[in-house]
Assembly symmetry: D2
Homo-oligomer: 337 residues x 4
């Protein structure tokens, strides 16, 4: 049994709380949140105690912490928790600043404690089935990857302003998915972005629609398409073309009903909310973390993965701003192991 | 090259004319129709001559006739044409009266001339692909067949009154499809019919919605569902469950466009018109006839098939009227070879 | 908060236990099972106490019991529990014997206690979405209902022998679904059954493949197709044709991945196991029960529904044996309120 | 009636011959081909006469010529035919050399004769339905276009060497489709290409897999993905994301049969051969040409369209070689009207 401290009781914290209490080998012991009302309410639901993050990290009876706090606290909490001997599952991204993330990784690595970064989509049943099929060589050698990732509605501009931008905040999931499926980092990243949905987003210095092309040392190509608005639902699809065929992961629909009338044949929309779509992924992610933490085996997603995705977001941001391809070596030089 | 006389220049006659002229081994030489305007107009389009059916049948330079006249002339024309030494392709049904059809078959058989009955759906690319897959044993032994066959809109009541009824006029195609796929006649037929779409159809002594269940000597079961109204298009589907799996032939859609909006995910409807859906089938049917006629090989659909389907329609009609299952032996006794 | 006693800790009992503990307004207090090992193991997982069914029913601190014991105990337990003032959710069927079920209903009704019968499929998200669309008149007036319900693999013959037969054991779900969607009982039921999958099932007096046609007083028709073997997964589909269109509920697939190779375009199979397919339905069913029990509103599925489905199974059984349609009035005379 | 001279009797010439003879308002009078055997054989099938291209162009009884000869003769023949007062339908591309194409356009324009360029995909029923839906504002303002266009198998390297390269030979169709759907030319084109399928193609100076990103003055983005090898068939899909939804044109499948077994749910592959997929498009293209030529209305695809697509291919080629985005103004300066 893994005794868990949950740092953060906001929307995503509640999702994780549900996964923690449903898992037969984990127990939600304590939780913290800057908003004490949110903390008390969540604690009451699950018979957990409310404490400060510092207290939780300092408590030797807590085996692992799950960090679901605002992004700008992630690095500090990862460092503190690993130094205190905890296993850590931290929500993405590690940090908005690449150098800070790299520094955090060095410190956490030095403690020897296991840290997993919460790229939950790797655990989506359809995406992981696609990955397994590719690993079983069902479509031969991969040649071209294409990721479609659209949000149903743009966030408020106030969020956009502190988000780090579309590439670090939203496309970072897709960068990690590319790394997961391609098994390597790209050599060059070329980004085109536009604020066609909402000019306010453009005035805030960000884009709301973007296409990123990535080329790899072995000749492969990947494309990621992001939009902040797909009014028909959460659009999350992947295509991998290989020498022997094509793998596609289609959307998950709200239900299986189809209506045929004089107006056409109408099926259900993709699930609208990311939690609905990815709830099985959050559960499987937590199971993977618990299993690795209890068995001592390697974490399936590491701080290295977190840093890599962040570096790609950095490169894409620079490319979109400069209008030229950016080599990964330009942004990942600091890592230089 | 097969020199063809076309008897009937109505809607279905025009369809056949197109198939005849498009085929590299057949030539449309002459055509007839009670409506001389229709005959002249079609003849002008295709450089054919207008003559009476009798003249065409008597002309030794004509190799084959295609009978697309009203149903009540089919038997007479089949007999006359085969006696005159022609190969014949006759539209379904052979006759509305089972005994008359059986008598026609005897006479035609005696001439030794090849006769094909126009059950065009056997040549539909999807249905014939389903049949081929079943023949290749891709789903093991067949156990349950299910045919869905809905017309987009009911015919006028005036047509219903002379049609012979839904079972002889509409479901006869599905009876033949069952024979094609099951490779045997059923033992018992049980029908339920209703005039729920239009009470006028009921007052005319017919039904507009019906379900027929058929059981076979070897334990198999088949179900046919007919409706005179599927407002979303022509609904033509088949399912065959076997010991090793399921084969389905889905509808053919008007195009491949799908629109996703807040109102749902909307695809194209099934093709609305039977000619649009079955035009490839009419072409393939004609090719099969020409090939058999020129090579002297057996016709792929015979008068036996025409009689069998008619006998099943007769049994279904009796079952719907009496409310009890009807044995095929009750209606096919006269055949008694 | 509803305090629950769970009677039965077998496979389906465990499913319900999960729903009980996950619901914020219900609490699993006690459970019983003839197999004490099963009871102890389930109780340990969920901090419940093991007691006899009698003790649980007699305990005034228990608000409601969930009956998930063998079928032949259902009627007795419903009677005892309602007499003891409990709300009851009982797994289907109420009984294998129609008269016994009717008697049980009389006794339970007399207590005034709410009883819900566990026809979980009414709560399946896709089926209930189909029902809602029909209720919103999205396809006009219903005309023909078609239910496809295939199990992936037949049960052992030893189970078949005590099951009450396919109509009472398996198709009873589909009878209830027909009642749910049509909002009325049929007038006549006509059944064809065969033991084509396994002759041993036939020797045990049962069928493994069956088609039932039902006709309604207002001219509607319904068809139910059952097979004990669809090797590709659990095949659960519904089609409802109306004057204005068609509603279909398709299968739920294991995932959304599609693979295209030279061998074809391969998608995932339907979920294989009924628990995987219907887990959301079990959760929604439990929520409906808890809500009704706490609010005092009417149960969404009643003992009347349980009796009706059983009567239809009785009629279908007689029809399959006699080879003639059976009027519902023949089997439901005893009810005669 | 339009009297037609067909220049070129190769594979694509035969396709056009079929469209010409099937159209009620066009007549195939004469045809030419450098390969006299091919010419004679096609002429015999359709009762046409074999003559030289020069003779056909000089014959005043010929109303229009269809140019289906090798690419390097297109410009010369367009010029000669328009100077001789013919209407012209010319296969794509106008030329491999952008300046030559522009010069040809000037000369043809000066004659006032109507010239249509054979971008047949604009007439594909699904793509034109997608365009119509967008024009009817069914998904609001377009924001991101994505074109997937994969050939089932790469051509021989000998063909690649004279093809002008993937961008001019293959992607030119997709450039035209982007122009058709977006209604404007892009500002910048950024291309990534690789010869991952066959290194011989790379040694021949070409790529076999490429992704092109295009950005527009009004903030829109388009992406084109090309591969020379999709072993599962001809993969031709389009997606257009708008402010109010998404339009997708899916592949056309060989048939509608789906097989479900323990190995999965297998549907038909996309049609393999481009002629099978695009035959309806060739027919509709020809109908559009005949209609415009006879009525004197504007040609639906013009030499301007041919030049624009070629210029985009030129820009993409330069971008793939240089690794930087290329502005359309760099390649289209010569046009400068």
């Amino acid at each position: 049994m893994l005794r868990i401290g949950l740092l953060g009781a906001g929307r995503i914290g509640r999702v994780h709380a549900q996964a923690i209490i449903s898992h037969p080998q984990s127990q939600l012991c304590a939780l913290s949140d800057a908003n004490s009302e949110a903390a008390e309410s969540l604690a009451a639901e699950h018979d957990a105690t409310v404490r400060s993050s510092e207290e939780i990290i300092a408590d030797p009876s807590i085996d692992a912490v799950l960090i679901a706090t605002p992004t700008d606290t992630h690095s500090d909490l990862i460092e503190a928790a690993t130094r205190a001997g905890k296993a850590v599952l931290c929500e993405k991204p590690v940090d908005l600043d690449l150098e800070r993330a790299i520094a955090c990784k060095s410190i956490a690595d030095a403690t020897g404690q296991p840290v997993m970064v919460g790229f939950n989509r790797r655990f989506d049943p359809s995406f992981s089935a696609l990955k397994s099929a590719a690993d079983r060589d069902e479509i031969g050698a991969a040649e071209m990857l294409s990721i479609t990732s659209f949000d149903p509605a743009p966030p408020p501009v106030s969020y956009v302003q502190v988000s780090g931008g579309l590439f670090r905040d939203m496309m970072i999931h897709d960068f990690d998915m590319a790394n997961f499926l391609m098994g390597q980092l790209p050599q060059h990243i070329s980004a085109v972005g536009t604020s066609i949905i909402d000019p306010e987003i453009g005035r805030a210095g960000d884009v709301d629609t973007a296409v990123v092309t990535m080329s790899y040392a072995d000749g492969k190509i990947a494309v990621i398409k992001n939009s902040r608005r797909s009014v028909y639902g959460y659009d999350q699809r992947i295509e991998l073309l290989g020498s022997g065929g094509l793998l596609q992961a289609h959307n998950i629909l709200e239900n299986s009903v189809v209506k045929s009338t004089v107006d056409g044949v109408v099926g259900a929309k993709p699930t609208y909310f990311f939690l609905e779509r990815y709830m099985p992924a959050y559960r499987a992610e937590w199971d993977a973390f618990v299993t690795a933490a209890l068995s001592g085996s390697a974490m399936p997603v590491t701080l290295d993965d977190g840093v890599a995705a962040l570096a790609m977001a950095e490169a894409a941001t620079r490319s979109a701003q400069s209008g030229r391809p950016v080599a990964m070596s330009e942004v990942l030089k600091p890592v230089a192991k």
